[in-house]
Symmetry: C2
Subunit: 442 residues, 2 copies
């Protein structure tokens, strides 16, 4: 019997996911409906393939949404995270499995019991970060535990960057995924454990408390702390852990420069500025500084004090922030106005390749000795469509969906990829596809 | 015919409001139903009065709420601001007028057209701040305009404080209203005009950009910028204004000390700390500091840098923040844990009197000359129940409700007290009750 798969959302990071499903459709007797608010995106992704169709529907329309879900066996939601909840509720009500690459939201968590009782799987966090990070970390954690090791420290970092050979801007950054997520990144207090103590970093100093990470062959990276690391202590089974931190990687120097935007208030997304297009970006910066006679450039330097240097100023000049560059949007939050500028300056150009970097750092005790273990992953994109981001977000979901449909694991309720039945076959197949961690004891 | 008035909420700041209504009930043929989630609060406030009853109902229960509103002619909502929206919707649907002392919310604004078409008045911002500030400012603005003056600068400040003769703590602050509002005060970017330029102050430096205000006979006060001042340009009719700022007053030295909490992250209300009662307040502060060997006291001083001094440290010591004082709450946001401590330390004691202070500062041009005008109000409480806060929040609402019911003005839709028919009789009666501004040209 044909299994009918519904993919909702066919945007930028879905190309590898949809390709994988379509390439495997005839072997496994799948029929795949690819949908997007923009039908052209769905058409482009399905072009040349059999066993599929491209459709469009309004996901906010309850009747449409339910009817699409009802006529399929399993749903993949690649929608923005805040739209998953309604889809998930319908899936549970209609007895359909759901896969997403997003963090488990409180609304998703609430569906756990009902999904379990109905035998419905709500598979989440099965992309890159969250996704590959969970799977690869849990594999090492369980191997160390099996050896009898006591894990005392676990730090895990990930970043979506531009490949060094295509890095032609002073920030070392280009957008390989949703620009908005980059601009508002980290806007909650980071929580983690350090040497057995609870630690918090409020957003306004997140980009000043930076770790430095080294990846062999790629040099060093800045890392800033990412969201709530503490919440992973229990699912990861790290009861006695002293240090537990998840972080995000950027090229060296990015964080100290981004800190200028955070300190000024330019990443604020809570209020709109009207008639913004009557202002220049320099005037926008001036709005956040005390009024004095000297130039915005000088006042910004004074305002930032010790957190400023010439390298930062060059990055701001690269964005034309001290020129008379006009704001284009008529209205927007400071974050939206900043994003509009960055989308122009940090565009991943034709033939550019992106790169994702992940590193886990473990410290553990075994037979009375202290050990360190590093596991690192670097993936580069093929081109500006088949990005490293699209591959590493899409393939884990597609592979795990295949493994579920072919009976490699049987689970229900809200799940993330931290159990062996999920991560073992996933990691094996990713390795065959060139997505392979390198381990190093030191 | 009897007019039936429903008062929802009989908490701390409602005593003067309810007294005024009850004292006038027989003269104007009113019957007043005072309700609260805690019926004892309603009973206490109505005790000894005729023409009234005390009731309780669950305001979240739609059927109860509608039935209470349906059986009255006019509603006063003294609920926390976020609960007004449902009450307002019911009032419009059932054709009942509504009075609140809270800011006009976006949900309230949306009801404007329907309320107008039904002849329903939704009177908001008719307390102290917002309330008396609007009325008293508009009276001066219109007088100056009538003289042909061009107003170039308007700053308006208000604070609810402890009266100096009852000030026995280092912060010069005691709670005369909802402590939560004090702890999370200012958690949005302040927006104002300065010398014709748009200015923003993000929350994380709100308490460092301080004005100093002088009130004759009371000395100087700290003032920090309050919310979105720009949004009052249009309703106040201040088209050509160069400087427009609303601010909140505190005793001198309060802001620089409160800044420590803001900078650390102790006023964050977005995430919960679990098993908080296993920590001391010193350990809580330590969670926000980098881990090094020296004491929390020393590291906090280093962390704050130039924004610290001995007077600030004494204020923190007054709160026992460097002692081994245990946190009492089992879980809570940093803001809730801080509030719990402050409620103990900043309690308005029996026989203590509070004080509210308001000052408007105008600059205007008339006949080619520049003028300054200051209008100041100081009100002290009678005791810990009949506080200055209760009087100045409750009386404007009660008086304006009476003026509306006796036909002194006829308006519908969403209103705030900026029109002459409302503010003129209001200010006159407040003066008779001892709530009187002092004007000074300088």
């Amino acid at each position: 019997m044909t299994t009918r798969i519904l993919v909702i959302g066919a945007g930028r990071s879905t190309i590898s996911l949809i390709d994988y499903l379509l390439k495997n459709a005839s072997s496994y007797n799948w029929f795949i409906t690819v949908t997007d608010a923009d039908v052209n995106l769905a058409l482009a992704k399905t072009k040349g393939y059999l066993n599929c169709e491209a459709k469009t529907f309004n996901v906010s329309n309850e009747i449409d949404r339910k009817s699409f879900i009802q006529s399929h066996d399993i749903v993949v939601s690649m929608l923005p995270a805040f739209l998953h909840a309604e889809v998930a509720k319908d899936c549970v009500a209609l007895g359909k499995h759901l896969f997403t690459a997003s963090y488990v939201s409180p609304e998703m968590k609430e569906l756990n019991k009902e999904a379990q009782s109905k035998g419905v799987l709500l598979m989440n966090e099965i992309g890159l970060d969250p996704g590959i990070d969970h799977a690869s970390a849990m594999k090492i954690i369980n191997q160390l535990k099996d050896k009898g090791a006591k894990i005392t420290s676990f730090k895990s970092y990930c970043g979506g960057l531009v490949a060094p050979e295509y890095n032609d801007n002073l920030w070392g950054y280009k957008f390989s995924w949703n620009p908005r997520n980059v601009v508002v990144a980290g806007q909650s207090t980071a929580q983690y454990f350090q040497n057995g103590k609870l630690k918090f970093i409020p957003y306004n100093r997140l980009f000043t408390q930076i770790d430095t990470i080294l990846i062999d062959g790629y040099g060093s990276f800045d890392a800033y702390a990412n969201r709530d690391s503490i919440s992973y202590q229990e699912p990861y089974g790290l009861k006695d852990i002293q240090t537990l931190l998840r972080g995000t990687l950027r090229m060296p120097g990015y964080c100290e420069a981004w800190n200028v935007f955070v300190k000024l208030g330019l990443t604020d997304d809570t209020y709109k500025i009207h008639q913004a297009d009557s202002m220049t970006y320099t005037q926008l910066i001036n709005s956040f500084l005390l009024d004095e006679k000297n130039s915005v450039r000088d006042r910004l330097r004074a305002f930032m004090g010790k957190d400023y240097n010439d390298a930062i100023e060059m990055k701001l000049d690269y964005l034309e922030l001290f020129s008379d560059k006009k704001i284009k949007l008529n209205e927007g939050t400071p974050a939206q106005l900043l994003q509009d500028l960055l989308e122009e300056k940090w565009k991943l150009k034709h033939n550019d390749k992106d790169m994702i970097v992940m590193q886990h750092l473990f410290e553990y005790e075994l037979n009375g000795k202290t050990h360190k273990l590093t596991s690192s992953l670097v993936v580069k994109g093929d081109d500006e469509d088949y990005t490293a981001m699209a591959k590493t977000v899409g393939l884990p979901l597609a592979i795990t969906l295949k493994n579920f449909l072919t009976g490699k694991f049987k689970l229900s309720g809200v799940q993330i990829p931290i159990v062996k039945e999920i991560y073992d076959p996933l990691i094996k197949e990713l390795e065959q596809l060139g997505i392979k961690f390198v381990e190093k004891e030191n």
